[in-house]
């Protein structure tokens, strides 16, 4: 993962596709932001910035929660498995139950619980709501990371180096944590976590768009922290998106997209562009490490 300085940096960046796509993403988002500063009205710009920030923070929170949940559950499985404990069976049942629920349904259930909490005045702060939403997403995504962790541990447990280290009196927990997970699996786990970031953006935007119809008479999207999905679900953004369709029949309308329909176009662009870049970064990352 070290950058070798015997090569020129531009050449290095072009060869390492993850670095290249990170640069493309940063450049693209910076250009979009500059354009919005120049041509998007101040309230819409403020909404877009907040929504982008919230979505980005939510993605990072999901990565954090997923990593913690996946590691705890993965390690617990390994610890309990050799001891044939009843807790192992219970844990397997719970994780299988979570696995059986489609992610998007699971996140919708989370929103319903959050709505109940808001209705009962248990929760009001936007920060807590964002953390709660992120945790709900993590709960239905972390198994992908947890499965990977367990798979890696199982794979290396069959290898001679695991047995050889045991025979030398090295503690099993140290072998799993340092030798297997840290030294042999970190790139794979990081690759998965980058994908989780992409999944989060996709789930968050999809669910926010779905619940734009409203969850209760008292609670609507406006009660939740603004995200790119909720911004896209707003009426003016929807009209902006429809305007993209107009270009197909009237090409002369195309330049207007970048001035008159900037809010919706900016949101749609940042979602699609970010998802594409995360996908490319993730692929480039694993290719480099291989």
């Amino acid at each position: 993962m070290k950058i070798k300085f015997n090569k020129k940096l531009p050449e290095k960046i072009f060869e390492e596709k993850d670095l290249l796509w990170t640069l493309i993403w940063l450049t693209g988002m910076s250009l979009l932001w500059l354009w919005d500063i120049l041509f998007l009205n101040a309230p819409a710009l403020d909404r877009f910035e907040t929504a982008f920030f919230n979505t980005f923070i939510s993605g990072l929170l999901v990565i954090l929660f997923c990593a913690l949940l996946a590691y705890s559950i993965g390690f617990a499985f390994e610890y309990l498995r050799s001891r044939e404990s009843k807790v192992y069976i219970a844990l397997s049942f719970i994780t299988d139950l979570i696995r059986s629920i489609p992610q998007i349904i699971g996140v919708l259930l989370g929103y319903m619980i959050l709505t109940l909490l808001i209705n009962n005045d248990v929760v009001s702060g936007k920060a807590f709501q964002l953390i709660f939403i992120s945790f709900c997403i993590s709960l239905f995504v972390f198994l992908e990371v947890s499965d990977l962790i367990r798979e890696r541990i199982q794979y290396f447990k069959k290898s001679d180096f695991y047995s050889a280290m045991l025979c030398c009196g090295i503690k099993e927990s140290r072998i799993i944590n340092r030798e297997i997970l840290l030294k042999n699996s970190l790139p794979h786990i990081l690759h998965k976590l980058i994908s989780v970031f992409g999944i989060t953006i996709f789930l968050l935007c999809s669910v926010d768009f779905i619940i734009s119809v409203g969850l209760s008479t008292n609670v609507s999207l406006s009660n939740f922290p603004p995200t790119l999905g909720s911004l896209l679900a707003k009426l003016d953004s929807k009209q902006d998106i429809l305007a993209i369709g107009t270009v197909l029949t009237d090409l002369s309308y195309f330049p207007k997209l970048f001035f008159e329909h900037l809010q919706g176009v900016s949101v749609a662009f940042s979602i699609v562009f970010s998802l594409l870049c995360v996908y490319k970064i993730s692929n480039g990352f694993i290719k480099r490490l291989d």
Partner: protein
């Protein structure tokens, strides 16, 4: 004629092999020694024209690999010679029967096939040989030794073909550890077959091996051929790889000195370990026997070095794994320092009482026994000893076995970047640094050069003097038969 080559092999501008003076005398058999992973196979593959130019950048005698491959000499070599790969599975096609592969292309024809097969499967019924030859090679069958015999048979057929032709074309037969899966009896049969053909018509051959006892075998059984063979050793120095003549006397004198030495004779008279005969695993009963004696338990006293030997595949490593609690078995019972354990002992028992405390084991293949993603610096970390994190302890131990002062660059080196011999030394060092009553060393000198073998023997002697029991498992019979008194040598049998 002594052909000297300068060879440079690179991957993405990183040199893998760089040697100025690789010589291979014409119409002689060159036995090429050197620690594993140093580049012996790569060099011979490059010379034979087997490297994919798209994978690696090869320059031979300052000409590009494309030009080298087009040369008349290489074409002649490929037409008249054969390359026996170290790992026979990589040569054999799993979708074609062995017998058909033995008759593919230029190998088609009788070419003494039956005689060759009978010699290579000496003592085996013809019907069984023909049944084996009808098998489609899979990873698990036929056995490694049988696959190796098939490749040897192909090479001998090609030699027969060369002998039958009335010309003196360029040849380069390469045998890359062709007897690695065979015991000494079959290795000697292989050598007999090779030398008898060589005497009929000379050819150029490179025989890659780590088995220095081949030298003794040649001097004892084929003294007339001593002038027709060369012993060479590939080593690494600051300027890259270097090929030098290996003085056979150096090895022969050393073996003599081992026979006379009494350094390994234990001064202690206290039993520290015993394990019973008749252990049942995979439906086979494994027993220990001393020379001319019946089955008995294997006993190791304080400071004793005990040698356990057996043919390939009998179960030497399996026994070690059973003792270490890594392999389930029946009718197993053992005792170490008054602590008894058996087939019913739990994993917790081994974890709490045995591993790293009473017994430790160095695994056979360092490549698999070490975490290749670790650094040299990390090799002692986590071990149940004081100063496991101390670089000074590591440097002192490295000096004993590697015979050089390890600097920061070496300590920070990834284990994957080390040669096979260096990895094996680290693998042993991790066990030798522990203070356990018993050390099990599985093939401790495999893949090592002569200097390293001597250093390992010295460390084993030192451990013995410290009063530690050592169980050695090795197919390198000449070295350990010479080193260890006959009353401490056990043969493992299977029934």
């Amino acid at each position: 004629m002594n052909l000297k080559h300068s060879i440079l092999i690179r991957k993405e501008n990183n040199p893998l092999v760089e040697i100025e003076d690789f010589s291979c005398p014409k119409n002689k058999i060159t036995f090429l020694f050197g620690e594993s992973g140093i580049g012996k196979t790569l060099i011979t593959k490059a010379l034979y024209g087997l490297i994919d130019p798209l994978e690696l950048d090869v320059t031979i005698d300052n000409q590009s690999y494309d030009e080298y491959l087009k040369s008349e000499r290489v074409n002649e070599i490929q037409k008249n010679s054969f390359f026996v790969f170290q790992e026979p599975s990589s040569h054999l096609n799993p979708l074609i029967k062995l017998i058909d592969q033995l008759n593919e292309g230029s190998l088609n024809g009788e070419l003494e096939e039956e005689k060759i097969l009978e010699s290579l499967w000496n003592g085996v019924d013809k019907k069984i040989i023909s049944q084996i030859m009808q098998v489609y090679p899979k990873p698990y069958r036929p056995s490694g030794g049988e696959k190796q015999r098939v490749l040897a048979a192909m090479a001998f057929k090609k030699i027969e073909k060369y002998i039958a032709e009335d010309n003196q074309a360029n040849t380069l037969f390469v045998f890359d550890e062709p007897t690695g899966n065979l015991d000494n009896r079959f290795r000697n049969i292989f050598l007999d077959m090779l030398f008898s053909r060589f005497q009929r018509k000379q050819f150029t051959a490179i025989f890659i091996t780590h088995d220095y006892s081949i030298i003794s075998e040649i001097y004892q059984s084929h003294p007339e051929l001593v002038e027709s063979v060369e012993f060479k050793e590939l080593s690494k120095n600051k300027n890259g790889l270097h090929l030098s003549k290996f003085e056979s006397d150096k090895y022969l004198h050393w073996i003599d000195s081992l026979k006379k030495s009494t350094s390994i004779n234990s001064e202690f008279d206290e039993k520290i370990f015993s394990v019973n005969s008749g252990i049942v695993v995979f439906g086979r009963k494994l027993s220990f026997k001393k020379e001319n004696q019946t089955k008995e338990e294997l006993v190791i006293g304080k400071g004793d070095v005990v040698y356990l030997k057996a043919g390939s595949g009998v179960g030497k490593t399996t026994i070690a794994k059973i003792i270490m609690g890594l392999q389930n078995s029946e009718n197993f019972s053992a005792e170490i320092g008054g602590l008894k354990f058996d087939s019913n002992s739990t994993r917790k028992f081994w974890r709490d009482e045995i591993w790293g405390k009473k017994i430790t084991m160095a695994f056979q293949h360092a490549d698999e026994a070490l975490n290749l993603k670790s650094k040299v610096r990390d090799i002692f970390k986590g071990l149940p000893i004081n100063s496991a994190d101390d670089d000074d302890l590591l440097k002192a131990k490295l000096k004993e076995l590697f015979n050089f002062d390890a600097d920061k660059t070496f300590l920070n080196k990834s284990i994957s970047q080390l040669s096979g011999g260096q990895k094996q030394k680290l693998n042993l060092l991790r066990c030798l640094v522990l203070n356990t009553d018993l050390l099990i060393l599985d093939e401790p000198v495999s893949g090592m050069d002569f200097e390293s073998i001597q250093a390992v023997i010295t460390m084993i002697e030192k451990k013995s003097r410290e009063g530690k029991g050592i169980l050695l498992i090795s197919h390198n019979e000449e070295i350990f038969d010479s080193l260890i008194p006959a009353d401490r040598i056990y043969t493992l049998t299977s029934e």
